[in-house]
Symmetry: C2
Subunit: 339 residues, 2 copies
DNA sequence: GTGAAAGCGCTAACAC
DNA sequence: GTGTTAGCGCTTTCAC
C-alpha cells in the first residue's frame, strides 16, 4: 500500500543521468540527444511517472489551473456556465476548479484566497448577493492574476466582464409576441430591486413603443418570485374583462405559474393567451411545449468568460484592456404540440 | 502591480530571527518564547502573510483539500450532494474542489489523476455512466488515499459507500398512497436497465404485498424518461375504464408528466388521482403543490460521504473498515392548495 | 529558546 | 549534450 509516487530523480538514477537531463528530456528539449530523450520517455511511461504539479507550480509560479467562484452550485444557470468554462479550458489544457460562495461574501473571500494561495493562473467569478466590499477582488488585481467577472458584476469594478443583455432579450421576446398577433402583452416580473427585472422591463417598454403600442401600466404585474406567486398574479390579470392575450414572464417559474393560471381558467395556450418565459434550464422548456422561451445561453457565457481569461493569460495584444462581452439570449419558439 | 506574496522569510528578516523560528512561532509552538511568538504573529497579520499551500503540501504531503468527482455538475442532485460535502469539510477546515466527468470515463480518470497529483487528502466520487474499468479507482487505493463512493457505486469495488435506499423510499411512498385511500396504485418507471428503477419497483411490490393487495401488472408502466413520455403513458393508464386512482412516479419528470395527463383529462389531483413523485430538486415540489414527493436527501448523502471520508483520514479505530451508509428519502406530504 | 541545514520535486541558469 | 547548482516556501530534525 501507499506506493510512493515516482519522481524525476528515480528516473535519473535508473538511467544514471542527472535530474536536469531527465527534466529536459521529458519536455522533448532538442538540446538533449534523441537517444536519451527516447530512453527517458520510455522509462517514464513504464514507471507511470506523473509530474508533481505542486513542485512545478512552486517553482514556476504557474499551476495550469483556473478557479471559478459561483454564488451557488445548485443552479442550472451557474452549472451551465461552468460547463462552458470547462469546455474551453479543456482545449487549452487547463484544469478547472469550482467552488461556491453560497451567496456569502465571507465564503467568497475564502474561496478567492484559496485560489490565490493555490497560485491558480486565473479566476472567473460571479459576485455573491452579499458582496458589498471589493478588497478581495482588488487583491486579485494587485497580484496580477487574470480575472473575469460574469453575470453578477459591478460597475465599480474595472475588470473584464461577461453579461447577458436582458433588455435586448426582452425586446426580442415581446416583439415575437406582438408579431404573433398579441395586442395586449402583460409583463410579469418580480421585486423592483432585481436588476435584471428592471432591464427586462426596459426591453418590454421599448418593444411596445417601437411597435406603436402605448404603455398600459395595468398590464405590468409584480409578484413574489415563485410559481405560486406568479399563478396568483396571472389569475388576477386573466380574470379581468379586458384580459391580456399574451404574457412575457421574466423567469421560468413565473412562466410556469402563468401557464397554471391559464389552464385553471380554461384558456388555451397559445390560442387564447400566448406566453414567453425566460429560462435557464431545459426542464421548463420541456414542461410546456406550447410556450416559447428565451434561453439565456449560460454555456455561452461561460465560454466567453473563459476566452477573455485566456486572452489575458496569453498576454495577447490589448489583452490587458478591460472588455465587456454581451451574450444575447436565444428565442426558442415552440409551436403548439399536436395532440 | 503583481505584488509578491509575503513569505516566512520576509518575516524572519524583518525580525532578525531565523525562518525556522518564524515557522514555529506561527504554529504557536510552546518551545518558542511567548514574546517571539507574539511578535511574529503580529507582524504576520500586518503583512497579511498567507502560507503558501503548495510549499506546505510539497513538504508535508498533505494539502488540506478534498476532491469531489461528479458525473455532471448540471444536476441539482449532485449539486446538493456537493453542498453537503462542503458543509462538513468546512467544519474540518478543509477546502473542497469539484470537477465533473461529464459521464465520460476518460474525463473521470483525468480528474482523479489531477486530484491525486495535487496530493488531495481524500476523494469522494460518483462513477460516470461510462465507467467500465476501475484502474483509476484502484490507483487511489494503492496510493493509500482515503476515498468514498456515493450514489453511482459498484459492488466490484471494495470501498466505503453512501447510497440511497430506493426500495425503502418507494415502500414509504406507496404506503402513503394506500393509507390515503388509494386502491389501485400505478407504478410509472423508465427503462429496465435503471438500477434505481428496479429497486423502487421492489419497494412498490413489497408495499402492495404488505398491505394485502395483489399485484396488478397492468398498473406498471414503462416510459422513456421524459415529461412527454410520462404524459403519454399516464394518459393511456388514465383512459382505461378501471383507471388507477394513484401514481407512484420514480422521477420528478415522470410525476410532472403524470400531472399533465391528469389535468388534460379533467381529473382532479389528488381527489381523483393521487400522485407521489420522486424528486431531487425543489422546483418540482413547488410546481404542483397538491402532490407529495419523496425527497432524496442529497445533502445528507454528501454529509455522510464526507463524514466517512474524514473518519478514514483521521485514522479512527476501524476507520479502514469498508462501510456502507444508507440514506433514506423523506416523504414530503403536501396537502391540496387552497384555491 | 533558537538557528542551521536538509530536503520535498522540480526548473533553469550557468558551466563545461 | 549533459551535469552542477541554486532555489521556489516551507517543515523538521539536530545542534547548541
Amino acid at each position: 500500500m501507499a506506493n510512493r509516487p515516482v519522481t524525476i530523480k528515480d528516473i535519473a538514477e535508473k538511467l544514471n543521468i542527472s535530474v536536469s537531463t531527465v527534466s529536459r528530456a521529458l519536455k522533448n528539449n532538442p538540446e538533449i540527444s534523441l537517444q536519451t530523450r527516447e530512453n527517458v520517455q520510455k522509462l517514464a511511461k513504464e514507471l507511470k511517472y506523473q509530474p508533481n504539479p505542486l513542485a512545478v507550480a512552486l517553482k514556476t509560479k504557474k499551476s495550469n489551473t483556473i478557479g471559478v467562484v459561483v454564488p451557488q452550485i445548485v443552479s442550472s444557470f451557474y452549472a451551465s456556465v461552468v460547463k462552458g468554462i470547462e469546455q474551453v479550458a479543456d482545449e487549452q489544457g487547463y484544469q478547472v476548479f469550482v467552488s461556491s460562495s453560497n451567496e456569502k461574501m465571507e465564503k467568497e473571500e475564502k474561496n478567492v484566497n484559496g485560489f490565490l494561495n493555490m497560485r491558480m493562473d486565473g479566476i472567473i467569478l460571479s459576485l455573491s448577493r452579499a458582496t458589498s466590499t471589493y478588497d478581495h477582488i482588488h487583491k486579485i488585481q494587485d497580484m496580477g492574476v487574470p480575472m473575469v467577472l460574469f453575470d453578477r458584476t459591478s460597475k465599480e469594478l474595472d475588470v473584464s466582464k461577461v453579461v447577458a443583455d436582458d433588455a435586448a432579450a426582452a425586446y426580442t421576446a415581446v416583439n415575437h409576441l406582438i408579431d404573433s398577433g398579441a395586442k395586449r402583452v402583460a409583463f410579469l416580473t418580480g421585486m423592483e430591486y432585481m436588476l435584471f427585472g428592471r432591464n427586462r422591463m426596459r426591453g418590454y417598454k421599448k418593444a411596445l413603443e417601437d411597435k406603436g403600442f402605448s404603455l398600459d401600466k395595468t398590464l405590468i404585474s409584480r409578484c413574489d418570485f415563485t410559481v405560486e406567486g406568479a399563478k396568483k398574479a396571472a389569475m388576477e390579470l386573466l380574470s379581468r374583462s379586458n384580459r391580456p392575450d399574451a404574457f412575457f414572464a421574466i423567469s421560468d417559474d413565473l412562466a410556469i405559474g402563468t401557464i397554471a393560471a391559464a389552464k385553471e381558467l380554461g384558456l388555451r395556450i397559445p390560442e387564447d393567451v400566448a406566453v414567453v418565459g425566460f429560462s435557464n434550464s431545459r426542464r421548463s422548456r420541456y414542461m410546456e411545449p406550447s410556450i416559447s422561451t428565451m434561453d439565456q445561453n449560460p454555456k455561452q457565457v461561460g465560454r466567453e468568460a473563459a476566452k477573455l481569461l485566456f486572452d489575458q493569460m496569453e498576454n495577447k495584444p490589448n489583452a490587458k484592456d478591460v472588455k465587456e462581452v454581451v451574450v444575447t439570449a436565444d428565442l426558442i419558439v415552440r409551436t403548439s404540440s399536436d395532440k
